[in-house]
Symmetry: C2
Subunit: 165 residues, 2 copies
DNA sequence: CCCGGATCATTTGCATGCAAATTATCCTGC
DNA sequence: GCAGGATAATTTGCATGCAAATGATCCGGG
């Protein structure tokens, strides 16, 4: 949808966009700013597309909730804060996610006897079962997200993104 | 950080792959799921890093607010819905962004005389001024976000991401 | 002309996300 | 052994985002 690529309403377009090598005199470093070419904007759109694919394939939980289940399945019980760090969520965010997953009965929390500040988070049977039966769908999500790419492009993308993460 | 690649907590791998046939009951395609290698998770972390760079460089507005200003600067006045489509925000989201930008005096909205459903959104002088004086910072944000990459990697990344957007 | 489908804007509800402040607890150095 | 810094969890406030429902308006075809 939208397809508005070749319509520069305000005459900028072709010249300014193809190569940044034109000899702009007075305006020194004045460059054009085309939103659609900005890395942040493109990242957001790609993320949106991935989210739509995910929600379609695994409607029971959100991406961050699934990441939480995955990390617990991978690592075993974790403190809430460490779990947040491993899933790239700050303390406030992981708390909300943990609360909602607990409300769904997919995880449970217990006090850490060795450190009274800590809350230990672990998968319930229901949580592990949901994660494991969602695994094929999860792999399909990755495949569908990367479907427009060749195998070389997929590997290049992941390698480059990991340098930026 | 974290570097936990070669540690398959649940013994899978090598043995499970040699016999593609025999009488293994249905669990044949059981693969591991390492969160840190999933495209969705990596995308989220890259986006987080970009957001931090942006907020540091342009504290006055958020990324979506800046995208809105940029699109208006690029295209001129737009209906709120079209503006949302061009900035990849649904109707509910763009409404909130427009409300907050208007409250800051950076944009203004007027009724469309030709279509009473439409709300025309346009930059104010303050909005245009903010956008224009933020342009160098905006280009710096892109540069800083892509700083870990070579020039070839930057071009490859953008080309690949555009195929996924 | 008028009706049914499409478009535009709004509203509500839910789920991230981040910043900043607060409280409780842990731990280390002196 | 205890004071001060670090860590863990919570809370509040703000800003996205998306889904779904609603009301108003527009438009094309019969």
């Amino acid at each position: 949808m939208i397809e508005e690529h070749a319509s520069p309403t305000l005459a900028r377009g072709k010249l300014a966009r193809k190569t940044a090598s034109d000899y702009a005199p007075a305006m020194a470093t004045e460059k054009s700013y085309i939103l659609d070419d900005q890395i942040g904007f493109v990242l957001r759109r790609v993320t949106q597309r991935h989210l739509a694919i995910f929600t379609d394939a695994i409607p029971e939980v959100t991406t961050t909730q699934f990441a939480t289940l995955a990390k617990l399945a991978e690592m075993g019980p974790l403190s809430q804060n460490l779990l947040g760090r491993l899933t790239a969520m700050d303390a406030a965010t992981i708390k909300g996610v943990v609360d909602r997953l607990r409300k769904q009965g997919l995880i449970e929390t217990t006090a850490d006897p060795d450190d009274r500040r800590r809350l230990t988070v672990s998968l319930t049977e229901a949580g592990r079962a949901l994660f494991e039966r969602s695994l094929p769908a999860a792999h399909a999500i990755t495949a569908r997200t990367l479907a427009p790419l060749s195998e070389e492009e997929r590997q290049a993308l992941l390698a480059i993104l990991l340098k930026l993460a």
